[in-house]
Chain length 111, copies 2
């Protein structure tokens, strides 16, 4: 067996990134909040199309728990709730932008 | 309603990236193949720890179908199957590296 086939130490950063971004919608949710200023629950849901209400709620709660988003409840009737990026979330915009540039240039669908 | 709350055109690149990377293990699988030259099914499974055999099979097949990996079957007994990056997969290494640097610097676990 080649030496390289021995298990290496698990990379904690990659493991955390995987946990944070592994959700079915998280990258796209962060992208629309970050780059298109789409903040409201209903607007995010319309933007993503096929997502269910419970799925969007779950993903937003996880992104909030992971420190990427903050939830603002304006205590209005009808309810008005908005999501904005935290400082961590804003710093992640660079990663999304880098990834999008790569995708625009390399993914077959865009060629 | 603010103007920005209108739905914008769905970004195809982000939607594709989300589909490709949304799997529970894909980032980590690509990371270990790309940066630690871990190629064999069994070695990947040991590396990822909690992943089931059927889950790893599924994720590898999807990464192959999406053009990131190529599967080499050496037709040996016992079976020897290795996965390596395609040109597209190699080009994605930059994105993984960029993301990892961001994570090392920004994720609370690493501070």
């Amino acid at each position: 067996m080649r030496k390289t086939e021995q298990a290496v130490e698990r990379c904690k950063t990659m493991s955390t990134l995987q946990k944070i971004l592994g959700g079915k919608w998280k990258l796209e949710i962060l992208y629309y909040i970050a780059f298109h200023d789409i903040r409201r629950f209903g607007a995010l849901r319309r933007q993503l199309g096929e997502i269910t209400e419970s799925s969007l709620t779950k993903q937003l709660r996880e992104l909030e728990a992971d420190g990427f988003l903050v939830r603002h409840d304006f205590h209005e009737v009808p309810p008005r709730v908005e999501y904005t990026l935290t400082e961590l979330g804003r710093s992640f915009m660079d990663v999304i932008a880098y990834m999008k540039t790569w995708g625009d240039e390399n993914l077959p669908e865009n060629k």
